[in-house]
């Protein structure tokens, strides 16, 4: 019998069909991966399974019983536990309370058993191998710790069905590996896992079966052993993707940006030195928490440096605010697109020109014609799919949002571009387009810093790789010397134990 069965489930938002007659099942003790490009309908499917939205038609069965009028509480009671990429914890409440939320029976006037809560939280966290103070407020935890708190909560709920939506996006490889062990462990207890990820390597090593969604339809469900990576990609995009990383030969220019002994106590980085030349892409590799994003924030003036020197074309500069950084020709595409990279409610045109308002204004007054011209040219150049440049960015898919975010920085005509996880949460097709754009930009003479947690991306895109560890530079690798093993050795500080 299936743990979970969907039969001909459809869902439309307004006039847009998000899911079309999707049928899907999950067996006990199975890890069933769900892959597909952004906008393929994965998140809608997850929302239906968590009870956040209701299907327009079709049936959902859990352990053979049909679920009517689901809501998040009812679905949890039926043993469905969602675990999100951004852990959904209540920031002001303690860990113990977060673990207990939604687990305890009884109405709103029941009494809270605090010692019991703490004890159970300790036990559950021990089961996922986490050593976390149960009285600490959740907002102080690191991402991986928050993830573990969520899994502990799911275990506490005796969840039979785990929905994991990109759970490793914010984890270090070691943390991810520990998470996989936990997931495999759950399988032995008859728990079924729906596992959603863009990282096909992960899916290949973890899943028993894989289902592929495309444009709201479930195009295939296969045994993992019977399908290879290329076929999966073909199923996802409906076409073959040729070169994953575009080849190129660009003459390197002069050193544009150099850091000497850069440090910032508040963000825990110190003694960072490197340089980037015009037309060069320098990849920044390292574990999550190694200080790469923190370094980018220092360069961009979000957390100003308190030691060391930043040089632009040889001249020492002081960058204490993002505004100064932009003035000096720096651009920073941040990691968290929705919160930092775009302003979702504003139009494509307004987002595109937001950092370059000076170039489209005269004496402080906006030149709307110039704005439209710039926005339209980037829409065309980046193939941004949108009804018009007046559409709110919120209405676009993740990949198109990222292109708008990138366009914003190119509109400032920067000389240095810092890209922080430029393809995170972007589907395969858009990813290739963005890679192409990055290479074009380097060809035009930009100095590019590429921060990515996907090693193949760093290795495939970069001319050189700088590896960071514990807030400082662990070493640099040039061209052919940059291999996965070499990077991991530097990143971990010892011989790596590769999982795949």
């Amino acid at each position: 019998m299936s743990l979970l069965r969907l039969q001909d489930v459809s869902k439309a938002y307004g006039g847009v069909r998000a899911l079309r007659a999707v049928s899907f099942d999950l067996r006990p003790g199975e890890i069933h991966a769900l892959v597909g490009e952004n906008g393929a309908g994965k998140s809608t499917l997850v929302r239906i399974l968590t009870g956040a939205v209701e299907a327009d038609s079709g049936t959902v069965e859990i352990e053979g019983r049909r679920v009517e009028h689901a809501d998040p509480v009812a679905m949890r009671a039926l043993g469905v536990a969602p675990i999100y990429q951004q852990p959904a914890l209540l920031p002001d409440l303690t860990v113990a309370e977060n673990v207990a939320m939604g687990l305890e029976r009884g109405g709103p006037w029941r009494r809270i058993d605090w010692p019991g809560r703490r004890e159970r939280a300790r036990q559950l966290l021990a089961r996922v191998g986490a050593d976390i103070d149960v009285d600490a407020p959740a907002h102080g935890l690191r991402m991986a710790e928050q993830q573990l708190v969520e899994i502990a909560r799911a275990l506490g709920a005796d969840a039979r069905i785990l929905l994991m939506d990109e759970p490793t996006a914010a984890l270090t490889d070691r943390e991810a590996e520990r998470l996989f062990e936990r997931i495999r462990g759950l399988r032995a207890h008859g728990v079924g896992v729906v596992y959603i990820s863009h990282r096909l390597e992960e899916v290949a090593s973890l899943a028993d079966r894989v289902s592929v969604l495309r444009d709201g339809e479930l195009v295939a469900t296969r045994e993992m052993a019977e399908v290879d990576r290329n076929e999966l990609i073909r199923l996802m995009v409906g076409r073959e993707i040729q070169a994953l990383f575009p080849k190129r030969t660009v003459p390197r220019g002069d050193v544009v940006l150099a850091a000497e002994g850069l440090g910032c106590r508040a963000s825990g980085i110190h003694g960072v030195s490197f340089d980037v030349r015009a037309g060069e892409i320098v990849g920044f590799a390292g574990l999550v928490g190694a200080g790469r994003t923190e370094l980018a924030r220092v360069l961009f003036g979000l957390t100003p440096a308190d030691e060391g020197v930043i040089r632009l074309r040889g001249a020492a500069v002081r960058i204490s605010t993002p505004a100064e950084a932009v003035g000096l020709g720096l651009a920073y595409l941040p990691e968290d697109r929705r919160r930092h990279g775009i302003i979702a409610e504003m139009s494509i045109a307004a987002n595109t020109t937001l950092a370059a308002l000076r170039t489209i204004s005269r004496a402080g007054f906006l030149d709307f014609a110039a704005e439209r011209e710039i926005a339209a040219s980037y829409q065309q150049r980046f193939a941004i799919k949108a009804p018009s440049i007046d559409a709110a960015v919120a209405t676009l898919s993740g990949g198109n949002q990222q292109k708008v975010a990138l366009a914003r920085w190119l509109a400032t005509r920067p000389s240095v571009l810092v890209l922080d996880e430029p393809t995170q949460g972007v589907d395969v097709g858009a990813k290739a387009e963005i890679h192409g754009l990055i290479v074009d930009l380097a060809a035009q003479g930009l100095a590019i810093l590429l921060i990515s947690s996907e090693l193949p991306e760093v290795l495939g895109m970069s001319d050189r790789v700088v590896v960071m560890r514990a807030g400082t530079v662990a070493g640099g690798l040039d061209g052919a010397a940059a291999t996965q093993e070499a990077v991991m050795t530097l990143a971990l500080g010892h011989q790596p134990r590769l999982s795949a």
């Binding site: 979000l302 919160r339 302003i343 937001l354 950092a355 308002l357 402080g364 906006l366 709110a392």
Partner: protein, 309 residues
């Protein structure tokens, strides 16, 4: 239909209603009186529009108006400064008061609601302290009173100030790069910072501007009534905020327009004036205003919900 057109339609209907049931409502003279009575609140509302567009609020404007009026009186009568210099001093006092708000909001990052709740008491309290609550400044020179009581042709002199301020704020909010930044800050302060916008400076500047407008509004108030006292402008902040929100500016920031604020202001001013000319009790204005505000919120929500899909 856009929200603003709906509001404009309401205003036209309102005018038509009062024209039919009020005595001498639909006359040039009365239009002048409506403008005259609403000029100070209008100035405050105009200045509050960019504040609310950034997602902030300024509860201290009415109190600051009172403080600036007192400063005008003290510098002119007690210190014997020429009226023009005293007027400048009052506006400077507004800028200083706004600067205190700016400092606390933009530098220390304290929520504007809390900051201006504190300065709401502080400014009024300083005005009362300085005058011991008692002193009332009057007998201002005719040349100064012209600002509040005179006419240029048929146009009340305040209208000139109000129109100038309206055009100025319209340019700032809708036509200048600064306005774009304010919107971005209102939608997402973090997003604006990551786009390299000088968020702190821009936030500070809207509170400074709001303080300055409170200073100018104080001049209009004193010139209109011919007296300056510590209780000047009591309750004006609520009227001004009501006008802005009625005008369709979102209390959450990002969305809003100066034209809407003017329409909201006109709706309120016509309501108060019309009720009087129709011999209806003044308390009705409060009740109707409350209903209008709730209706406006509802309408805005429906319209936004529709545009999102």
């Amino acid at each position: 239909m856009t929200y603003e057109r709906g509001l404009a339609l309401c205003l036209v209907l309102e005018i038509a209603l009062f024209a039919s049931i009020g005595w001498n409502f639909f006359t040039a003279g009365n239009a002048g009186e409506i403008v005259r009575a609403s000029a100070e609140i209008g100035l405050l509302a105009l200045a509050l529009t960019p504040v609310i567009v950034t997602g902030g609020i300024d509860l201290s404007v009415g109190s600051l108006l009172g403080l600036c009026a007192v400063v005008l009186g003290v510098t002119w009568r007690d210190a014997g400064w020429p009226i023009t210099v005293a007027a400048a001093a009052a506006v400077v006092a507004g800028v200083v008061g706004g600067g205190l708000n700016a400092l606390l909001v933009a530098r220390l990052g304290i929520p504007p609601l809390i900051v201006t709740l504190g300065t709401y008491s502080l400014f009024r309290g300083v005005a009362e302290g300085v005058t011991a609550g008692v002193r009332n400044y009057s007998d201002f020179p005719e040349s100064f009173l012209f600002l509040g009581q005179g006419r240029i042709g048929v146009v009340p002199s305040q209208l000139v100030v109000l129109v100038a301020a309206a055009i100025g704020f319209w340019l700032i909010v809708h036509r200048m790069a600064v306005g774009r930044m304010l919107r971005a800050i209102g939608f997402s302060p973090d997003g604006a910072r990551y786009a390299g916008l000088p968020v702190g400076r821009r936030l500070g500047s809207v509170y400074l501007l709001s303080g300055m407008c409170a200073g100018v509004a104080a001049l209009l108030y004193v010139a209109r009534l011919g007296q300056a006292k510590a209780d000047a402008g009591t309750g004006f902040e609520l009227m001004a905020i009501t006008a802005v929100i009625l005008g369709g500016t979102s209390i959450f920031g990002g969305r809003g327009s100066v034209g809407g604020t003017l329409l909201g202001l006109a709706t309120l001013a016509v309501l108060q004036n019309g009720l009087r000319l129709a011999d209806l009790p003044a308390e009705l204005a409060g009740v109707v205003t409350a209903a209008l505000l709730l209706a406006a919120l509802g309408a805005n929500r429906v319209l936004q919900g529709r545009s999102r899909k």
